[in-house]
Symmetry: D4
Subunit: 222 residues, 8 copies
Amino acid sequence: MTVNYDYLRRERLGMPEAVLCAGKDMVSLNSIVAELAARPDHPVLFTRMEAGQLGGLDPEHRAALDYDALSSTAVLHGHLPARPGNVAVVTAGTSDLRVAMEAARTLHFTGVSHKVYADIGVAGLWRLTERIEEISQCDVIIVVAGMDAALASVIGGLVGKCVIGVPTSVGYGVAADGTTALNAMLASCGQGVMVTNIDNGFGAACAAIRVLNSLMIKESSV
Amino acid sequence: MTVNYDYLRRERLGMPEAVLCAGKDMVSLNSIVAELAARPDHPVLFTRMEAGQLGGLDPEHRAALDYDALSSTAVLHGHLPARPGNVAVVTAGTSDLRVAMEAARTLHFTGVSHKVYADIGVAGLWRLTERIEEISQCDVIIVVAGMDAALASVIGGLVGKCVIGVPTSVGYGVAADGTTALNAMLASCGQGVMVTNIDNGFGAACAAIRVLNSLMIKESSV
Amino acid sequence: MTVNYDYLRRERLGMPEAVLCAGKDMVSLNSIVAELAARPDHPVLFTRMEAGQLGGLDPEHRAALDYDALSSTAVLHGHLPARPGNVAVVTAGTSDLRVAMEAARTLHFTGVSHKVYADIGVAGLWRLTERIEEISQCDVIIVVAGMDAALASVIGGLVGKCVIGVPTSVGYGVAADGTTALNAMLASCGQGVMVTNIDNGFGAACAAIRVLNSLMIKESSV
Amino acid sequence: MTVNYDYLRRERLGMPEAVLCAGKDMVSLNSIVAELAARPDHPVLFTRMEAGQLGGLDPEHRAALDYDALSSTAVLHGHLPARPGNVAVVTAGTSDLRVAMEAARTLHFTGVSHKVYADIGVAGLWRLTERIEEISQCDVIIVVAGMDAALASVIGGLVGKCVIGVPTSVGYGVAADGTTALNAMLASCGQGVMVTNIDNGFGAACAAIRVLNSLMIKESSV
Amino acid sequence: MTVNYDYLRRERLGMPEAVLCAGKDMVSLNSIVAELAARPDHPVLFTRMEAGQLGGLDPEHRAALDYDALSSTAVLHGHLPARPGNVAVVTAGTSDLRVAMEAARTLHFTGVSHKVYADIGVAGLWRLTERIEEISQCDVIIVVAGMDAALASVIGGLVGKCVIGVPTSVGYGVAADGTTALNAMLASCGQGVMVTNIDNGFGAACAAIRVLNSLMIKESSV
Amino acid sequence: MTVNYDYLRRERLGMPEAVLCAGKDMVSLNSIVAELAARPDHPVLFTRMEAGQLGGLDPEHRAALDYDALSSTAVLHGHLPARPGNVAVVTAGTSDLRVAMEAARTLHFTGVSHKVYADIGVAGLWRLTERIEEISQCDVIIVVAGMDAALASVIGGLVGKCVIGVPTSVGYGVAADGTTALNAMLASCGQGVMVTNIDNGFGAACAAIRVLNSLMIKESSV
Amino acid sequence: MTVNYDYLRRERLGMPEAVLCAGKDMVSLNSIVAELAARPDHPVLFTRMEAGQLGGLDPEHRAALDYDALSSTAVLHGHLPARPGNVAVVTAGTSDLRVAMEAARTLHFTGVSHKVYADIGVAGLWRLTERIEEISQCDVIIVVAGMDAALASVIGGLVGKCVIGVPTSVGYGVAADGTTALNAMLASCGQGVMVTNIDNGFGAACAAIRVLNSLMIKESSV
Amino acid sequence: MTVNYDYLRRERLGMPEAVLCAGKDMVSLNSIVAELAARPDHPVLFTRMEAGQLGGLDPEHRAALDYDALSSTAVLHGHLPARPGNVAVVTAGTSDLRVAMEAARTLHFTGVSHKVYADIGVAGLWRLTERIEEISQCDVIIVVAGMDAALASVIGGLVGKCVIGVPTSVGYGVAADGTTALNAMLASCGQGVMVTNIDNGFGAACAAIRVLNSLMIKESSV
């Protein structure tokens, strides 16, 4: 079995090359890593790589990876050159950090400037009020929140720029699987808040990159 | 068929006598109204009485009812004497008024002082900020909100008194049946926010009365 | 009861002033329209206004509205001045037009240039192939699709700019309420596709405007 | 990364300071505990702390915690001073004890007098009948029940004070995740029963504290 | 198209001959009625026959039917001879009567003695206590209840005979479609309570007949 | 904490004394077992006792239990005396045996004669046809089936006695949690098939005992 | 707005040209019909055309349609030439006929020989046994069934040819929306039964045509 | 307990003999394997056999099995003789290989020629375009895809032969359990795409064999 990798994605779309490790058996994963390791001019991001999968890689390849445990991401062959635009990654609580860091690592890999604002959920509104001015300076705002995800609505009502909500599977009971946060963001009373899949920090970063792609083309044609 | 009415509820529980009209056929409903109309010392509240049901009542009984179309409630034999305590009924949007007025009518019927604060959803946070001081003076705060129901969390984070959330079936798509608002309130990051069934303004008023019942007994024993 | 309208939204957020009519009783709706009609310098968009609601308005106000039956939208006091940026609104099938036109009317109201590409679902892939070059020239692409919503994934794989998916409640059986299209878009294999609530053409247009807001500020600071 | 803790919650809301440990990685959790351990005048409650998390704490901090395995709670810097009011915590079965003890530990931490009445589900109605008189003397009644949660309805029909239902994820099949108990409590035929999230003993205690907050202010102003 | 009727059901199973009218178009329904009307020795029960369907029948057949509007049932060619056994049909509220009467009409058609006990929900426990002795004398007890359906659990805990729960779609919000009542009955803490489909009064009567069938054979062989 | 055991259940209801072990912590479970072990005249059945729980019991009590691993049941102080009536326990596949044996062990504990007919699902109809005559001689038929649970409908169409369906969580995909089997049995085209909770072999046996209770009283009064 | 019709579908896929009318507004629908009416060499099938939509068509076009009310289908410009292969369309009950006739009309339009076998559900197994020999002679068997959909499993266990299940939304309670029938067919114990969307008679006919397409090519190459 | 195996399935249906191991306890599984091992003329396929189950088999039987870890399948007594027809097994991503290989192993066991085309999801459309000509030469096309499953719709729009969709539980958030992929395939805009249960590679292979069964009989009668 040969890997059928989509090598042209970056050129075609201006999007990061990435491999979702979740659900891949070790034979397939080792075969993919081996093939990509042989292309040093081709930086790649691995997402949802469990510690067990990392441990099951061929040692030479494992050593070549820049692995981050909190976000379960790994980078091969370094990151892409810096590009214009900056993104705020905001979380409601500490438990949302795993997902926020997946977004941050993806932005870092792609060369996008960003800053993480953790723990500013609306249960203590003053924490948001203190930072909203700074957050609103960014081109794109990624809001990572679980449970009732009220933070997305409140920020959407305070800032007119692009707001991307990432619901998380943080919490228990009706919150446990992230569906409540997802639906609350979709039903948000903040007009025009956009949403990604549950826990999809990578997807939110890609969405932000899409926005910056539009923006860059626009700028360069000015 | 004889009606098997629970006449002792008010004495036993200090709760309003009420008849849920939804789902009742006209033969049963007319029979219930006739029996209750014969007991003038026994004020009764009818909830979820559709205009069609009102029209199908025997004319003499229909004339005896104080009917309110927005809340679909009707009162027979007047309301109960005034009692201590006051309640804030807050709504996120104009579409939540039907449910808020069901709560308000129930409180009015039971003799409880209350005030309705409409249209202060978090998408325009200044509308809430302007009124939160006044709202926080009440003994109990009923928050009526649909869609993402973020208002309940924000108020729960600003006020330490009893907050009762009533999710509404306002909106469309994932919001249409009120489940998103319900789950968002249950998963609220505002500690200790309590929740009733979807669109259950009557139940929220009863919950508030239960709180006042505890309070009154406490007071009288001071 | 006085309306508690958020008049500052446009100034604060650069977003369109809009009133969601769904779920509003005629007394409230007439009161809102009357208040807004008295402010001729304040263009407003009404969404989800059913023909029945239009008919129930005070005749003088009804006459002042520019109503569109297909999208169930109405405009009061004309649209906003033209602004930079252009948006493609793409639909998979003819039945998705209601929702696409809600997006188009919102964009038109806000002064944003746009074009509707109808009926290019992936079941006949050549219809998409013929137009993808033109579509990819736009700053933002709104994809309106029901059933399996495969169109969003395919476009997301062909274009690297901002793609906003609007799932629709078109179809029957498992497709009937739009949840399948919603989830398929959220789980899209096309990286970074963003999603709004089911049938939420208005929200998608607002999301596009948020992207253009980021873009405009960027441009003006060049 | 600095912790962004909401230190003012107790002063602002009269609610307990609490940290939800579920979903927190050990790096974040150790950092939070270290910061809080340095403030001995600031009692804190940790909820949902798994044995594994306790074991992963820095030994000096672990030793400082008063940990309870059944409720998965830990207390740092002792509990708050006693305050007026008393709460009944009632369970339908022995399996509901984990959740009931989370409520009881939260009340104890906050200085609220309370008593646990275990194992009085309605399948053996005499067990409830024997104790209902005593239970009805309390200011607030927390009912912890899984499966069909019928206990909440029956108590709601026998007592007119504040009844807070906590559905539990006890049981299997349709009962397994607690949704049936949750919905049964929300749909309760006992008027005005309020509900919290599934297994949310902490939230129920907070709700009870909110009721007592209203009550205390009331009393002090008498 | 010829009707392919299962004429041998009664002989084979000792169960009533019945035609479910819901979902049948008038051409098919008239053809079925015509065929059955020609067999006067063959009593048949029609269930879920809407008033509109009754009105659409050929006049001669319509006249031959004994129709009951509350239960939406019709009988053709009279009922079956009386047989041993008696059944209690118990309802929690007045709104459950439609379903209870479908069960009662089915029992009456099949010649089974029965009695309806309406309006004895657990919110007013004394109503049940007064009648439980009489109810427990019956061979089979059918409990018809919506919302939280707590009545089934309480009766199941008080009586050791066959208890058949029929959940109803009475109520609103989480109760609206009967799923909560269904699941609460399935998860009942009352051991060995059996359940039928939502609103299925006919099925509950058939289940009771199955129990009596076992019983009769047993008796006759004594 | 004292156990609040319902010792009168057998006398009151003629039902088996049983303790559901699932969800019970070892402290509570050991305390329950200790109390019951001290009452040798009081046979008790333990259900859903995992091997881990068995291992965690005090050794002297563990030795006193008659434990069966397949059904996860244990008996203390022997079984009850034989009583009239016999029950068929039928399974669609081998994977349904765990649940069927829970029913069989409960019947055995209660002194009820029964026989297990395994592996006669309708995919090979001849397996059912061969045994249906023998099965139909029993007083009550318990059908244990997962996936599409078609066996319950087919048997319900072939036998007129009491048929109790037990849906199982056997299978994967849409079958994985037993909901499909549950709903298929509830919607069964076989009239009057009754249903219990998913995997609830114990409940089905209790339901069968309820039927036999009615029957025995009837017989004794002949 | 011009219609963007996929005229090449028949040539490309050997599938019928069809227009789904559900969800289409009358302006769009009239425009589509007008365009297609101008191409007499191009037979087209309209599905899900409600009587109201038929009535809203331009009279000249309405007259040109061969409309069938039971299946809600219409044919324009006659049907396609006869082609090899034959299909059995089997229904469990009379209420499934609407869906079965949609399949039959689609097959007829496409020139495929077929026969409808109505009312042979497994509750009366003899009805199936009598016809199974004849049914098993067909190349493809479409099984149309609602509620528990047990018929698909039983036929799948008796015949080794291609069996296509069409779940229907017949019934009430858990059966009401067809999800139970859908899931039961997907979880069928009959190996290799394939399934279409709920009520999708048209899709099942198309699936049968796909099978015949494979078969015809195969034959012609013999 | 004797195994009640359906030995006649192959003769009766032309389908493979198979044992689903998931959910079977080791006692039952060893007993089944022992019985089948004694019939060397009877090739059997075991599906969903976990490594743990393989390890728990009697060593002599374990050695006789041809086990494949990726697909969790085992073959006993070799495969069946080659038969006409060929099948394409197509996957959207590498993570879908587990399910695709279950289909491939089933086809191989049954003697059906087939080829696996991995990793051709629509996010990189060129990967599909390159191979569609070759794929369309096969008699049956099995499409294995998770997440949005858009590949099934696109292939269904490009090829007119039998297309069988197998949704997989690959992905996270809304994709996690495969329901989104399942519903997207059922709602596919590609006419006549048929669907099996989630992750059911075995069922898809059986469905393909059913199609080939029809085809072979047809051919042999030419």
